[in-house]
Symmetry: C2
Subunit: 183 residues, 2 copies
């Protein structure tokens, strides 16, 4: 059915802030680029600057944020790109909408207990949220709805990043999105 390398797909990383989405998305992109595949990362933080300036963190604005990312991911996927999305994307419903729109969609749940994300706190945002300086912060003052049937689950509390990456690559081969020679 799939016809790599001309067939695009989207790998959608979802998880709590600090779970490891950006790290893994960069590792995956680098690996695929070594094989000259057309890869593009859509990182939540950059997208907030370029596509969704003006949107806040209310439920409605978060939904619109994800809708825009999904639209761009679809465009990239349709021309044969491998799109890697790294965005908290906390709501089940928004991710299901993205899946329906993009079609060739691989959801990766970057699982890590909240307590460990709070300990890591790479950007110091949990500390701010706990001091009440940020409102609607996912995991603290805004819900995170984990995926029900993600294609892939990585456990960044237990696995080394390289192990999680390997899990993802193996699954992409099984799903016939990339050839076995890549792993």
């Amino acid at each position: 059915m799939k016809n790599y390398p001309n067939s695009g797909f989207t790998v959608w990383f979802t998880g709590l802030p600090g779970a490891g989405k950006s790290t893994l998305s960069k590792m995956l992109a680098e690996r695929l680029k070594q094989f000259h595949l057309p890869v593009q990362i859509l990182d939540g933080d950059e997208v907030r600057k370029r596509l969704t300036k003006g949107l806040g963190y209310s439920h409605e604005d978060r939904e619109e944020n994800i809708r825009r990312i999904a639209y761009v991911a679809k465009l990239l996927t349709n021309i044969g790109g491998i799109t890697i999305v790294a965005a908290i994307s906390p709501y089940l419903n928004s991710r299901e909408e993205a899946r329906a729109e993009i079609k060739d969609f691989v959801e990766v749940f970057v699982q890590c207990p909240l307590q460990m994300c709070i300990q890591r706190d790479p950007k110091g945002l949990y500390a701010k949220a706990n001091r009440g300086e940020i409102s609607n912060f996912t995991g603290i003052s805004d819900p995170y709805e984990p995926p029900e049937k993600p294609e892939i689950i990585v456990r960044t509390d237990e696995e080394k990043p390289e192990e999680s990456l390997q899990k993802i690559l193996t699954e992409l081969v099984k799903l016939k999105y990339i050839p076995e020679s890549l792993i």
Copy 2:
């Protein structure tokens, strides 16, 4: 220097409302798709629904609208896509920003005298603008700044659409973006 078909570029149509941007962009996309090239149109009207909902037609909002289109065009171009933008994009400065960001950028000025665009008025928008029902309408109550050095000029008041298309294809060959076998 260029390495088709793996090297992306953006064809950016600019011109007054009703000049023929959407028509020509669709014709160009169809022609290139016949050769199985990875083509994506970004049409101003669709983009307004998907990426820039909430933006209006003030100078600032128009600039932000074009910045978002340019960002997405860059992403598509970077992975080897042929991106076709059809948007009024009335300001010189915004288009120059887009050119600087995208780099492989071919500006097509779809030239047509305002009076003829008003006669055509395919969406009935000039009539509304003239009745004062739309404010900030390009050509009537908002400026259109024609390009100073576009790569291509088509004259939709004098040429048939097929002639304009041929002009564009010929120029894309000269610029080495597409092989001569395509025209």
